[in-house]
């Protein structure tokens, strides 16, 4: 009955030197194993003594998973590449400035120095009931504490809630979806490549996971095709504090225009559902339309169709509407002093 926090219980630690070793460990210990990348999500769980893996597989020594490489006209980013290394990489800066912005918007400098892109996209939700050890659906229980008449759910989902109303907190995830990134997943039984959009899963599919990764799976790399290199990017994150905080909502879009007409675009949001949301309907409606206030307005309105606000997160509707609007037409006006 007694609950104790802040002291990690014992676990066995492995620090494999390469992917093969890591995979064989994961295969050997399956659901007893906990994969640790930068560790910033992991330590919370471990220190809170809520998750108690027998074995931690720390990927710190797997150097082959680090680094950004050119791959055709796109990029391949090792899953263990830190956000700082990503932000500082000339190819990222040159071709996919939006990813830089998104990575730079995450957490704090020290966290970006240690946190990895793989960890950032695979992190667990930050629902404060779940993270505090309340035994909700996501924790194997039969209740969502965040959607009750008295629940505090300012940060929670407006879309695709299925029992659980938690949201995905990643800043890089919507950017990767907009850029049509591919996630390279390996296990002892082989390699699998998943569109970034489909890497994330909602509670309807599996209420205890945020991604398609199953025990034994390892995200090894993220490939960004050259398709959208150098196109028009928009990324914006709205949050409380300018450091540390996860997004209330963020938006990422890539766009190609020609003579004021939107030729093609991809648009994704996060902080609104348990998975980042790609706005396919909006994309379809906006394609071929002139890039102007009217189109932006329409896109914004379409984006919130079907949204179901909770007691404290109704603001996410106007926020999403405005962010999508801005993703289409940009930000208006500024002060010089």
């Amino acid at each position: 009955m007694a609950v104790i926090r802040d002291v990690m219980p014992a676990f066995e630690l492995f620090q494999p030197a390469n992917v093969e070793e890591a995979l064989s460990l994961l295969n050997r210990y399956k659901s007893d194993a906990w994969v640790m990348a930068g560790g910033l999500d992991s330590f919370d769980w471990l220190k809170d003594r809520i998750k108690r893996p027998k074995v931690v597989v720390d990927l710190v020594g797997v150097k082959e998973l680090e680094g950004v490489r050119a791959s055709g006209d796109g990029l391949e980013i090792g899953a263990m590449t830190t956000l700082t290394d990503l932000v500082r990489h000339p190819l990222v800066r040159e071709k996919f400035g939006m990813l830089l912005e998104a990575a730079e918007a995450a957490a704090s400098p020290q966290i970006r120095n240690q946190g990895t892109i793989g960890g950032n996209v695979s992190q667990d939700t930050r629902c404060w009931y779940y993270r505090d050890g309340w035994e909700c659906y996501r924790a194997g229980g039969n209740i969502c504490y965040a959607d009750t008449p008295t629940a505090m759910n300012r940060e929670h989902a407006i879309f695709d809630a299925d029992r659980c109303v938690a949201v995905n907190p990643s800043d890089t995830a919507p950017a990767l979806i907009a850029l049509d990134a591919k996630m390279v997943i390996r296990s002892t039984s082989g390699e699998q490549i998943v569109d970034a959009e489909h890497y994330f899963i909602g509670p309807g599919i599996d209420i205890t996971r945020m991604t398609v990764l199953k025990p034994g799976d390892l995200l090894v790399a993220i490939r960004i095709p050259g398709t959208w290199a150098g196109s028009q990017f928009y990324f914006e994150k709205v949050r409380d504090r300018k450091v540390w905080d996860f997004p209330l909502v963020n938006v990422a879009s890539v766009m190609k225009t020609s003579g004021g007409t939107i030729q093609d675009l991809r648009l994704a949001l996060n902080g609104v559902a348990a998975h980042p949301v790609r706005l396919r309907a909006v994309e379809a409606a906006v394609r071929g339309k002139p890039r102007n206030e009217q189109t932006a307005e329409m896109a914004g309105l379409m984006a919130i169709e079907g949204a179901k606000p909770l007691r404290h997160n109704g603001y996410k509707l106007p926020l999403v509407r405005n962010l999508v609007k801005r993703a289409i037409r940009g930000v208006e006006g500024s002060w010089t002093s």
Binding site: M1, V3, G140, G141, N142, Y145
Partner: protein, 292 residues
């Protein structure tokens, strides 16, 4: 094996969460064992020879029995199949994710649950006011018949049991047990809809205490896994060759005279034609009205 899954409330109290899903496998295995057992029994155990009635009486009676004895009205059959469909959807949407087939099951599950609930309400009203309400409920004599049938089934000597009324005792018992489990899942399920987002209710998991919810989840779970075995048995009997005539009756609405005479007691399920006999086509309709 722990049959119940306990969780911890935000106050650190132990609360019931649900049954252990091991019980699902237990129920499924139990169902399969029963089927195998029954199949083996039928295949290898010498079956008692059915009692032949007095030939003269039978012939006289047969003359008054229509070719097709109406057994289930269109409404009743519609109910049965709607209910069956809902039940399958409910069971699959409940248990496939547990065995590893992942999909967004909750909405499907509650919609099927609502359909099942509505169909059962319809059935209750329909059966109460339009059907022979008591025909489906076990009566005192059924127990003695059942005892005799069992003894004879295992080769003991016993007086011949009466033939069935409209429904054999197995049917009646099955109906009874499905009614209990069905009401349990529905009764709990309706409240459980307060725990998820539906258009009907404002979500409020605090409608009952943590402990009361726990009991409700356990009841829902127990009834649910129970239904797995029950439905397996039901389907099994429905497709057994010697029972197919009953299954057909649930599709077409009637049984033929032969089966009627063989299995049913005209005293207890009177479908005999009054005099003068009307044309055959109207028989069914008439029979339906009188006897169903």
């Amino acid at each position: 094996m722990d049959f119940l899954k306990w969780g911890r409330s935000p106050w650190g109290e132990d609360i019931l969460i649900r049954i252990s899903w091991d019980l699902l496998y237990l129920s499924a295995i139990g169902g399969v064992l029963f089927l195998i057992g029954h199949a083996l029994y039928v295949r290898f155990w010498p079956q008692p020879v059915p009692e032949k009635g007095d030939a003269a009486t039978t012939a006289a009676l047969a003359a008054r029995i229509p070719e097709r004895v109406a057994r289930h009205s269109v409404a009743a059959r519609a109910f049965h199949w709607v209910m069956a469909a809902a039940m399958f959807v409910l069971l699959f949407s409940a248990f496939l994710p547990i065995v590893g087939v992942k999909f967004a099951w909750v909405t499907i599950h509650w919609i099927a649950g609502v359909i099942l609930t509505l169909s059962i309400i319809y059935h209750t009203v329909h059966a109460t006011f339009w059907l022979d309400f008591w025909s489906i409920w076990p009566e005192k004599g059924d127990i003695e018949d059942s005892r005799r049938r069992m003894l004879r089934g295992v080769g003991q000597s016993a007086p011949a049991p009466r033939k069935h009324g409209k429904y054999p005792l197995e049917n009646k018992l099955y109906h009874l047990i499905i009614l209990i489990t069905g009401l349990a899942v529905i009764g709990t399920g309706v409240f459980m809809m307060k725990r998820v987002q539906t258009p009907f209710f404002t979500r409020n998991p605090y409608l009952f205490t943590d402990q009361a919810w726990g009991v409700m989840y356990v009841a829902h779970g127990l009834a649910g896994v129970g239904l797995v075995a029950l439905v397996m048995a039901h389907v099994y009997f429905a497709i057994r060759p010697e029972k197919l005539w009953i299954t057909y009756s649930m599709i077409f609405g009637w049984i033929d005279r032969g089966h009627y005479l063989e299995h049913h007691d005209p005293q207890r399920w009177n479908v005999a034609r009054p005099v003068p006999p009307p044309p055959p086509d109207e028989d069914a309709a008439k029979g339906r009205r009188i006897a169903v």
